[in-house]
């Protein structure tokens, strides 16, 4: 299990410290900023600049609100442990959380953390296969919305050649 997630999980089992609240809140705020909290919006989503300009998960603390995201084993991330080329990292994410209606992909150490946000209408399977860029070795977070609640999973992917360099 990636270090960060381990620490994260461990902390969540104890009384929440301020940093936990900050980190969890930031994830929720990110989703809010991504426009993913709008109910019933399955039409072409308006692109949300604020969400895609976020540099760090922690930057969103000012938007803190809503319910914290919880770690879930029901979210599967199928991606390489080591990617030679950070410009093309193939990722398949699937959610077995009942009622999944949105999936977001975030790369913690990219210049902007949010890579892609998908709305999953009823009838579409909660499984997305795509390719993202990773600037360096980082945790990849997948955030799932289901029934108005938020769940996440993370996987560390090692990068031998970054995908954002000159």
């Amino acid at each position: 299990m990636p270090m960060l997630v381990h620490r994260f999980t461990k902390r969540m089992q104890m009384n929440q410290t301020r940093r936990d609240v900050v980190r969890q809140g930031s994830i929720v705020a990110l989703l809010m900023a991504a426009g993913l909290l709008r109910p019933g919006d399955v039409c072409a989503a308006d692109w949300n600049p604020a969400a895609f300009e976020i540099k760090k998960l922690e930057d969103l603390v000012t938007l803190l609100g809503g319910e914290p995201a919880t770690a879930s084993d029901a979210i599967a991330i199928n991606a390489p442990d080591i990617a030679e080329n950070g410009a093309v990292v193939p990722i398949t994410v699937s959610s077995a959380v009942p009622g999944t209606d949105a999936i977001s992909i975030l790369v913690e150490k990219n210049p902007n953390v949010l890579a892609a946000a998908f709305e999953i209408p009823a009838g579409t399977l909660p499984e997305i296969n795509t390719r993202v860029k990773m600037a360096q070795t980082s945790n990849l977070f997948v955030l799932v919305r289901a029934g108005g609640k938020y769940f996440y999973a993370a996987k560390e992917i090692k990068i031998t050649l970054g995908g954002c360099g000159g």
Partner: protein, 103 residues
């Protein structure tokens, strides 16, 4: 106008698998050209996939989606012979729509 997408939609029973390969530079805005000048960001921001009147997937993307983006997903309730339409809009206002028939 953008370059054509490669689309494939295949029905397996009730489930249709859609595969999309778009032609787009997905420039991040972080890179510099050999003269040291920044290369402006140019990337797809929204993607919408429809089956008839039904939206089967919509997405917002940042520049961290790889160049020439690939996307695949599955939905229920599609029938052979039906039409899948994929639209994207990028940050320069360029847009492209392509269609394919479900096989």
């Amino acid at each position: 106008m953008g370059s054509p997408m490669k689309l494939r939609a295949r029905a397996d029973g009730d489930v249709v698998e859609v595969k999309i390969l778009m032609a787009h530079v997905m420039e991040t805005g972080q890179r510099k050209n050999p003269a040291g000048e920044p290369i402006p960001a140019h990337f797809i921001q929204t993607v919408t996939v429809t089956y008839g009147p039904r939206t089967v997937l919509s997405a917002q993307w940042g520049p961290a989606v790889s160049a020439n983006p690939f996307l695949s997903f599955k939905f229920k309730g599609g029938e052979k012979g039906g039409t899948i339409r994929v639209n994207w809009v990028d940050n320069k206002g360029d847009t492209r729509t392509d269609a394919t028939i479900i096989l």
